[in-house]
């Protein structure tokens, strides 16, 4: 049985193509709908089954977050059934998925966490404003681009504290800031292209997550999610600081404290969590559950930065992926 690490996606992984990802007959979908109704929010199946993708509706944090969480959780369960899972990590929102996939949160508590956090983010960001901006740190071959790195550093330094690092995503930097910070980033960062995307790219309906601007979310999360029970995980979790939490020595109080604390208002280093998972768990494969395939390139970029299995660039990665033992399995590719 191959040893795998599961990497759960964050916001941005559910778009038009991902409509109809949910199976109404799946008992986990039904369970989620029951939990969703407790929040007085429209059913997920209604959103997922809509004939047309409504950006304002579908991408609203309180809608898109549980949709992503649910699809990922269901996909991950499939992966778990067929392999030996030696670790789970996630990107931002994907951390809440990872907690549930690893068994550190029950399905029900996991749903409550993701739904509550998305509502808190909406609530707090309504007053803070701001958002997130994507910018590449690599070239088209996924090799480090010092000029782009310097541009990001310079843009942050010249923002007067209004723009901050938010997520380290392999070859992409997610920056965040107040409205002024976001405007500054979009103004000063040179236009750049990676693949077919143009940057800087502001993420739709995203707040300044993983920065001190949303510290209030953390305070409220500790209060409103006090009843959530953290449990010993069944497999090793790797968090957004690259810290491992094993099934045998996990400190549950620390896990809670991190999840509702630093995880919320300090930069999330997904690249580091993948690096730690590769180096310390040395899995045969990395599995990325859906929805979508947003982490494929990101994970490939981390693999290239790491030089794992001799991969140093995009072309190397393609060779490994097309070979007899691909490293990355995107479940919804």
């Amino acid at each position: 049985m191959s040893r795998i690490v599961i990497l759960c996606p964050g916001r941005g992984s559910y778009a038009e193509k991902q409509l109809k990802s949910l199976d109404p007959a799946d008992p986990r979908v039904q369970a989620a709908e029951r939990l969703r109704s407790e929040f007085g929010l429209p059913p997920l199946l209604e959103l997922d089954g809509a004939a047309k993708f409504d950006r304002a509706l579908h991408l609203a944090p309180e809608n898109v977050s549980p949709l992503i969480w649910l699809v990922s959780t269901i996909d991950a369960a499939t992966a778990l059934g067929d392999h030996e899972c030696v670790g789970v990590a996630g990107n931002s929102l994907g951390w809440y998925t990872a907690l549930a996939v690893a068994g550190a949160l029950s399905f029900e508590d996991g749903f409550r966490v993701v739904q509550t956090m998305s509502l808190l983010q909406k609530e707090v960001c309504a007053s803070t404003g701001g958002g997130q901006v994507l910018y590449p740190l690599v070239d088209d071959e996924w090799r480090r681009d010092p000029e782009r790195e310097a541009a990001v550093r310079s843009a942050l330094e010249s923002s007067g504290g209004e723009a901050l690092p938010s997520i380290h995503l392999g070859g992409l930097a997610v920056l965040a800031g107040s409205d002024a910070g976001v405007s500054h980033l979009k103004r000063v960062l040179p236009k750049a292209k990676l693949g077919s995307n143009q940057y800087p790219l502001q993420l739709e309906q995203h707040g300044p997550y993983h920065t001190r601007l949303v510290a209030r979310v953390s305070e409220l999360a500790f209060q409103r999610l006090a009843g959530v029970e953290f449990r010993t995980p069944d497999t090793t979790l790797v968090d957004g600081r690259g810290r491992m939490h094993s099934p045998w020595s996990c400190d549950l109080a620390e896990l809670r404290h991190y999840t509702f604390g630093a995880q919320v208002f300090e930069p999330y280093d997904f690249g580091l969590s993948v690096k730690v998972a590769l180096r310390e768990l040395a899995p045969d494969q990395l599995w990325c559950p859906g929805p979508g395939n947003t982490l494929g390139g990101t994970v490939g970029q981390v693999v290239a930065q790491e030089g794992w299995r001799g991969v140093r660039c995009k072309a190397d990665f393609a060779v490994v992926q097309e070979g007899p033992a691909p490293l990355l399995v995107s479940m919804r590719r």
Binding site: R3, V86, R241, R243, W248, V276, R279, E280, A282, G307
Partner: protein, 747 residues
């Protein structure tokens, strides 16, 4: 045999975990293993994870070696209780670790999220250039973010600098030098029971106690991991306890027994050291499994029964038993830890073995001797406020001094040190008799009075300790200028330069530095004070050290500017620089005749210009118009050659161009080439013992290999120790001999 014993020990653990029954009641995660213990069930399981990871790395090392993919099998098997200290000491407690520190490093790395201690170790075992600390230069335990400077640690040579760092912690507060460490930091230093017998270890224990006796804080934990054997020789039973449990100013703690008992003992020892700043000797009982290294056939010196007895004390097995017995873990949990860890370590080993290696000479030496001349010269332009100088020199600036006593080399060095202390507030000066007395030759007089006892202080009489203090202080931001009283004394402590100080940048890929300028009083020709120990002229041992820089001034003004170059180089490039000061020239006044004052010079004030410091390649050229003969020399040889050259001119009308090398390492022979081409004939005047200097050999070889067409020869001192009294003239290179050599080469 070795592989079999690995399998036996692994099986012992597996069998126990497969057969043991869980405790009737399991402890909660925060419950202690026994009433009153500080070790909780969860923490104990964490320690077990680290111990198992360390053990799996040892097994992987042997497997990789067996398949030709790794190069180091000295392991940590049997020492895994050191994980306790890894968990208890903080990552801002600098740690100087010996080579059985696998579990300690695993536990220490937990304190820093994002650490990858398993894979880092595997990279190190495979000598991969991806190894984050040595970049493939050596298997070491080291990490910049974890504050573990790498050590090779085979002969306890890392202990003196650990003492030095502990000493420097308090000195930082007294001098306002920012050490980057918290006030209550302590220093951790580990070694084995057999290594405790090394002279360097004894020097360190002695120095720590001496410092404390003097009333200074010395927060160090000497962690003696006692496995009862050094390679094949048993340590006498009770030896460590007998030696260290009753020493004054050394807080001895024995840590043994179960994991929780050892935890509590270690915790108490560290806590006391942190609070009291008294040096601690933590005697941790361990065992040694699978021989000294993979290549060590243990059955040649231990019976099978003895080996099995040792294996029965396997700390992993003992810990597993303890955790299960008290209900801190179930057998199934521990079995799962063991299985998962072995799998991930072996899987990681396959990846690590594929990682790139150092493949060119340039890559290997990249971090050995970094030198950026531009940066060094720029550093020397650091401002020196005139009013500060005026205050320091009492209104009588040294460059305005005209008295004989203030124009000697001794006076110029003294003035230069004053200026350097003003220019670099993080300099320290120390040595035997250097402070209160001002040095046995008065070179450092007045420095302590002007700059205070925190920056200028006397040490105990031990060169190993002096260089240890220099290294430790340099690790935390000081720029030490230690003094070695006589050149012969450096040999007592040479490994502190060779094995430790000069190797630090090499083995840490430049991530750790210990910049320093070692002033050594030496060479021969002292009038009225003879004998080898005070007139040693063997400097080959210094030139033989990779990366060490060595200068020998011949004149006072040069000495001042060489010191400026040395300090700027240490500061800008992190280098270890030795300045060998010719004692016989300290107070010399005359050049050719008594009373001519030809060897006195005016003090060169710091100009703040890039050409002020003298660096390698900056030659001293006397009579640059001379073209009959080139004399290449240094130190006392310069004055002797100038005297001989004058006689040569008087007697033959021929003129010799005397070139002072000033720097002997690196020896910039390339800078001599234009002079040699102009003069044709080359004579190297080397005052060092004939086979122990290397300067003449190197210069002659340089020109011979480049096909120099003119005559080439050398004049050297005899290959012997230096005797007492008038007999010194029989062995030391003299003016007459130089003149004869000049005439011969011109004939």
């Amino acid at each position: 045999m070795t592989t079999n014993r690995v399998a036996v020990v692994e099986k012992n653990l597996d069998d126990h975990l497969d057969s043991a029954a869980p405790a009737a009641r399991l402890l909660g995660p925060d419950e202690p293993l026994r009433r009153g213990s500080g070790l909780s069930a969860r923490k104990a399981r964490e320690l077990f994870e680290d111990m198992v990871a360390s053990r799996a790395l040892d097994v992987a090392a042997r497997e990789l070696k067996r398949t030709g993919r790794s190069f180091y099998t000295i392991g940590s098997a049997g020492h895994e209780f050191n994980a306790i200290v890894g968990a208890l000491a903080r990552i801002d407690d600098p740690a100087f670790l010996h080579y059985r520190s696998g579990a300690l490093m695993q536990a220490r790395a937990r304190q820093l999220a994002g650490s990858t201690p398993v894979f880092d170790t595997l990279l190190s075992l495979c000598a991969s250039s991806d190894d984050p600390i040595s970049h493939g230069r050596h298997k070491v335990w080291g990490s910049r973010p974890l504050w573990v400077p790498p050590q090779t640690s085979t002969i306890a040579s890392h202990l003196p600098k650990a003492v030095g760092l502990a000493f420097a912690l308090a000195r930082g507060r007294r001098t306002a030098v920012e050490t980057g460490l918290p006030k209550d930091a302590l220093v951790l230093c580990s070694f084995g029971d057999a290594s405790a017998n090394h002279a360097t270890a004894q020097a360190a224990f002695n120095a720590a106690r001496y410092v404390k006796k003097r009333g200074n804080p010395l927060p160090i934990v000497f962690l003696c991991e006692d496995n009862g054997i050094g390679i094949s020789v048993d340590t006498p039973r009770g030896w460590i306890e007998e030696c260290y449990s009753n020493q004054t100013h050394l807080d001895y703690t024995l840590a043994q027994g179960s994991i929780d008992e050892a935890w509590d003992a270690c915790a108490a020892a560290l806590e006391r050291c942190r609070a009291t700043r008294v040096p601690a000797f933590l005697h941790l009982k361990t065992t040694r499994l699978w021989g000294h290294a993979g290549s060590d056939v243990e059955t040649t010196y231990r019976s099978l029964e003895e080996i099995e007895a040792v294996e029965s004390g396997d700390p992993l097995l003992a810990t597993a038993k303890r955790l299960i017995e008290v209900g801190a873990a179930t057998p199934a949990q521990l079995r799962a830890i063991v299985r998962a860890t072995r799998e991930r370590v072996m899987a990681g080993a396959e990846e690590a073995a594929r990682r790139p290696k150092l493949s060119t000479r340039a890559e290997v030496v990249e971090s050995l001797a970094p030198f950026d001349e531009g940066a060094v010269r720029a550093r020397s332009t650091r401002g020196l406020k005139p009013e500060l100088r005026a205050e320091t020199f009492g209104g009588q600036l040294p460059e305005h001094q005209r008295s004989v006593a203030r124009r000697t080399m001794s006076a110029q060095i003294n003035a230069a040190l004053h200026d350097l202390f003003l220019q670099y507030p993080h300099t320290l000066l120390f040595g035997e008799d250097s402070a209160k007395k001002g040095g046995v030759y008065g070179v450092t007089q007045g420095l302590q009075k002007r700059f205070g006892i925190a920056r200028v202080f006397d040490t105990l009489l031990d060169e190993t300790t002096i260089l240890g203090i220099a290294q430790g202080a340099a690790h935390v931001g000081f720029l030490p200028i230690p003094e070695i009283q006589y050149l012969a004394y450096i040999h007592n402590a040479l490994d502190q330069l060779r094995g430790e100080a000069c190797s630090l940048q090499f083995f840490s890929s430049g991530q750790f530095k210990n910049p320093m300028v070692v002033r050594i009083q030496g060479l021969a020709y002292q009038k009225g004070f003879g004998g080898h120990f005070h007139n040693d002229n063997s400097l080959g041992a210094l030139r033989d050290i990779p990366g060490l820089m060595l200068a020998v001034p011949s004149r006072g003004d040069d000495a001042a500017r060489i010191l400026r170059g040395a300090v700027a180089t240490a500061e800008a490039c992190g280098r270890v620089v030795c300045v060998l000061e010719p004692i016989a020239l300290y107070h010399e006044k005359d050049l050719h005749a008594d009373g001519d004052n030809g060897w006195l010079c005016d003090y060169p004030p710091p100009t703040g210009k890039p050409d002020d410091p003298l660096l390698p390649g900056d030659l001293g050229v006397h009579d640059p118009e001379a073209k009959d003969l080139l004399v290449v020399t240094y130190g006392n040889g310069v004055r002797l050659s100038l005297r001989a050259a004058r006689r040569l001119r008087e007697e033959t009308g021929r003129r010799a161009r005397v070139v002072d090398l000033r720097w002997l390492a690196p020896l910039r022979c390339d800078a001599l080439e234009s002079h040699a081409a102009e003069c044709g004939r080359v004579l190297v005047v080397d005052e060092a013992r004939a086979t122990a200097g290397g300067v003449a050999d190197a210069v002659v070889a340089h020109f011979a290999e480049r096909g120099h067409r003119g005559p080439l020869r050398s004049a050297r001192s005899a290959d012997t120790y230096v005797p007492l009294g008038a007999a010194t003239a029989c062995v030391l290179l003299g003016e007459d001999e130089i003149l004869t050599a000049m005439k011969e080469i011109l004939a």
